[in-house]
Symmetry: C2
Subunit: 195 residues, 2 copies
Amino acid sequence: MNISTEDVKKLREATGAGMMDAKKALQESGSFEDAVSYLRKKGHASLAKKSDRVAKEGVVTSYIHAGGKIGVLLELNCETDFVARNEEFKELANSLSLHVAAAAPIYVSRDQVPEVAHENEKNIYREQIKDKPAAMQEQIITGKLEKYYEMVCLLDQPYVRDPDKKVKDLIAETVSKLGENIQVRRFTRFVLGAE
Amino acid sequence: MNISTEDVKKLREATGAGMMDAKKALQESGSFEDAVSYLRKKGHASLAKKSDRVAKEGVVTSYIHAGGKIGVLLELNCETDFVARNEEFKELANSLSLHVAAAAPIYVSRDQVPEVAHENEKNIYREQIKDKPAAMQEQIITGKLEKYYEMVCLLDQPYVRDPDKKVKDLIAETVSKLGENIQVRRFTRFVLGAE
């Protein structure tokens, strides 16, 4: 394993271990995960949550609908704390949470759709249109996939409060106003009693 | 595949398909999932979310900490809508959300700890105490596992507002007051910028 200063720093952040212990752990282990286990075995590491220490700006926001029947938790990222505290940024986060509660997307963006789901959709479409002329089939499938993305991907969904624009357009408006990259990092949606 | 009225009902709820279509789909398919695909291929099913229709009572609640740096979404279940609307029940849900924000559990209960995580912990402990007498080792490992559960399992954690009791004791108090089974179904915790 190649030991870089970056690796040592990362391991120290992840475990709270000292510099020399972290170096030794990396030298004697095959991977970052093994180095963490090594340090814990030696008693040099706590169950520290490295995830809590990665720095990024933005806001975590929530929206509870229908008196607690639906709940959404959403993280919206930006570049600076200055923008994170801006009212328009916070309002965008709230609007997105409300949208997720209403429109129930599954993914943030189309690149998050798993390959297997993607293939499954295509197979279903192929079966549905097998009687159409071959020359038309690819075009129809592309069109159906676009509809699928609009159904399951937050950024491609029509914005519930103004269906003429997509959610990504709504975000782009705030980006151009505030001049910072803004990204929906993740969201979770709970429906009471759902599986 | 054995076709029961229950299966047909479930498939109809999941897809919005008619009675005869659902029956036929089940007869011609090897599994419930295949029947859903079959119906979609035939155009008899939408991408309906069956999960939205399963009935259970309770509340989805959220807690946002530190001006949006940490967020929690939590589902607390009970048996009747009557209890779901009870103030003490709702207060319990809020207390649990706040607790999750502060104490960062990973699992609801110890039976949710994956076998591999469980084994990994035990291996680390074995290494840590390999110089102790063999007769003591099992006892020490059991003790360390208890500490681990108190660290990662919500129900086993000391309640942040009153560390003399565990979270499961807090829930048990409300159960005995309201006379219904109450269960934390699931929770999600986002830390801004965390992985």
